[in-house]
Amino acid sequence: MKYKKIIALMLTAAMVLIMAACSSESNETTAAAAGGETTAAAASEDSGNEIVSEGKAAAKTPSSNLKFKAGGKDIQINMDTSEFLDALGDPDSYFEAESCAFQGLDKVYTFKDFVIRTYPDGDIDRVSAIELRDDIVTTAEGAYIGMTEDDIKSLYGSFTIEGDASTALTVKDGDTKLSFIFEDGSINSITYTAAE
C-alpha cells in the first residue's frame, strides 16, 4: 500500500515536471551545459550563432535563396532597405502610410518596372513585398511576365512548386514566397512576399 502511494506520487511528480518543463517554448540551447568555461566562450567559438538564434532579430534576417536583382543588388524579403535603396535611384512614385499607434511607416516605392513595399522594424525598414510589373525585369532565376507554366517548371525544377496555372504557381524557400500569377495561361504578374 505504502509503495503504491509512493509510485503514484512519483508518477504525478514526473508528469507535473514534464508539463512544467514544457509549459512554454524554450529557445535556449543546451550547448552551454556541456561546454567549458560557459556562455561567452562557447558562443564566440561559432561567432555568436547561439545567441542570435534566440532573438527575434533572427526571424527577420533574410533567409531565402529567392532573390530579385535590381540596380546591381540582391533584393530579398525582410532585407533592410538601406542596403539597396540608394542603388535603385529615385522611384517613379513613393507612398507612405502611417501604421496605427505610431508604430512606423509602411512604404511603397514604385519604380518603372517593379514595386517594393516595406514595413517598419524599429528604426529600419524591411522589405515586405516585391512586385514585378513588366517583362523587362526578371527574377534571379530568369522568370518574367508572359512565361508559361512549363517555363516556370523548368526554371524552378530544384524547388517545390505548388499550385497550378489556373490561378498561380508558388515557390517557397526560407522566409520567401515567390508567386507567379497567371491569367489566360501565361504569367500576368510576379510577386515576392513573406512565406507564412
Partner: protein
C-alpha cells in the same frame, strides 16, 4: 520561531507590494502621443449598457463617433477596438463584453480577416494588456502570441516592461493610480485634416481566400451572436487603403448570405454617406477625422435605427445623466484639439 514567522509574512508582503508597485510604475501608460494602448481598459469604467458594440481595428475606433450616434439618434454604443486588432482578439473581446452586457447589435469591421496569423508584439500588448483577467483574456493571449512571446510575460507584465526603468517619464508617476480618458466610448478623435492623395496600385495576390484560422474566429463570432440573440453586422469601413480586394468582398457577400448576416461594404457608398476625402481624413485617406466620423455616424445611425428599431434613449434619465458628461468631454476635446492645431 513566532518572530520568524511574523517576519516572513511581513517580508513576503513587502516583496509582493514592491513588485506590484514596480509593475504598475513600469507598465506603459499610453497617455501621451500613443493612446491606443489605453483604449481597451476604459471600457470597464462604463456605468451604463450599450445597444451597439463595435469591434475591430482602427477602421472602427477612428471612423465612428459614438457621441454623434447618441446626439442624433439616442443610440448608446461602445467601440471595443484597438490598433491592428486581429479577428481572434475581436472575438475574445466580444466574448468578454457579453459577460458585462447584452447589446442588440454587434458591428464588426472585416478588414482584419486578411491576417491569418499573429502579427506584432507591440499591437498585441496594446490590445491585451488592458483586458481584465478572465478565460477570454487567457485564450486571447494564446491565440495572439507571436513566436517570441510567452504567457508569463502577460501574466506578469513586469517581466516584459522591466527595462523601461531607465525611460520612465513624468506620466508614469502622474498616472500611477488613474489614467485620463482618451476615447469617447472607444472613439479616438482627431480633428486635423490631411487630404487623401493617390494610393499605390494594389498588388495582385496568388490566393485571395481568407485564411482558415481567421475564418474560424469569424464563424465563432457568428455563432456567439446567434446564441445570444444578437444581430451581427459585418462592415468594411469606407476608407480605401489598405486595399480591399474585390475577391475579398465577394467572399464576404457570400459569407453573409450563407449565415443570414448583413454585410455592408461602405467604400462604394462614400458619396451616399457624404464623405469628401479631401477634408474628412486626417492621414491622407487611411482613417477619417472628426467630420468624417460624424458624417459616417449620421449615415450609419440611420441605418441602425431603420433596420433594428433601436430605442431612442435621449429622454431616459438613466442615460442622459451619463451622456451629458460624455458630451461635455467630447466638445471639450474638440476645442482643445482645435486650439492645439492653431498653435
Amino acid at each position: 520561531m513566532k518572530r520568524k514567522i511574523i517576519a516572513s509574512v511581513l517580508i513576503s508582503a513587502f516583496l509582493i507590494a514592491g513588485l506590484w508597485f514596480a509593475q504598475r510604475l513600469l507598465m506603459p501608460k499610453y497617455q501621451g502621443q500613443i493612446v491606443e494602448g489605453a483604449m481597451i481598459e476604459e471600457y470597464y469604467d462604463e456605468t451604463t449598457d450599450h445597444d451597439v458594440i463595435f469591434i475591430g481595428d482602427c477602421e472602427v475606433y477612428e471612423n465612428f463617433s459614438t457621441m454623434k450616434l447618441w446626439e442624433e439618434y439616442g443610440i448608446t454604443s461602445y467601440i471595443r477596438g484597438s490598433s491592428q486588432q486581429l479577428v481572434w482578439q475581436s472575438y475574445y473581446l466580444l466574448e468578454e463584453t457579453l459577460k458585462y452586457e447584452k447589446p442588440k447589435v454587434v458591428v464588426f469591421n472585416v478588414l482584419s480577416l486578411k491576417y491569418d496569423k499573429p502579427q506584432k508584439e507591440a499591437y498585441n500588448r496594446m490590445t491585451l494588456d488592458g483586458m481584465k483577467w478572465s478565460m477570454s483574456k487567457y485564450n486571447d493571449i494564446k491565440a495572439s502570441m507571436t513566436e517570441e512571446e510567452n504567457m508569463l510575460d502577460y501574466m506578469f507584465p513586469i517581466l516584459r516592461y522591466h527595462s523601461r526603468w531607465s525611460e520612465l517619464e513624468k506620466a508614469d508617476f502622474e498616472h500611477f493610480f488613474e489614467k485620463d480618458k482618451v476615447t469617447h466610448n472607444g472613439y479616438y478623435m482627431r480633428v486635423d485634416i490631411r487630404p487623401q492623395g493617390e494610393f499605390p496600385e494594389p498588388m495582385p495576390l496568388d490566393d485571395y481566400s481568407f485564411g482558415d484560422n481567421a475564418m474560424k474566429y469569424l464563424d465563432m463570432m457568428t455563432k456567439l451572436c446567434k446564441d445570444n440573440g444578437i444581430e451581427l453586422v459585418l462592415i468594411k469601413a469606407p476608407t480605401e487603403y489598405p486595399y480591399w480586394y474585390e475577391q475579398w468582398d465577394e467572399q464576404m457577400v457570400d459569407y453573409a448570405d450563407r449565415n443570414g448576416l448583413r454585410y455592408i461594404n461602405m467604400i462604394p457608398l462614400q458619396d451616399e454617406i457624404g464623405l469628401d476625402m479631401s477634408v474628412d481624413t486626417y492621414d491622407a485617406g487611411l482613417h477619417l477625422n472628426l467630420t468624417g466620423a460624424e458624417k459616417l455616424s449620421t449615415w450609419f445611425g440611420k441605418y441602425l435605427v431603420d433596420n433594428f428599431g433601436l430605442e431612442d434613449h435621449r429622454n431616459d434619465p438613466k442615460y442622459t445623466k451619463v451622456y451629458d458628461d460624455k458630451l461635455d468631454f467630447y466638445y471639450k476635446m474638440i476645442e482643445e484639439q482645435k486650439d492645439q492645431l492653431e498653435e
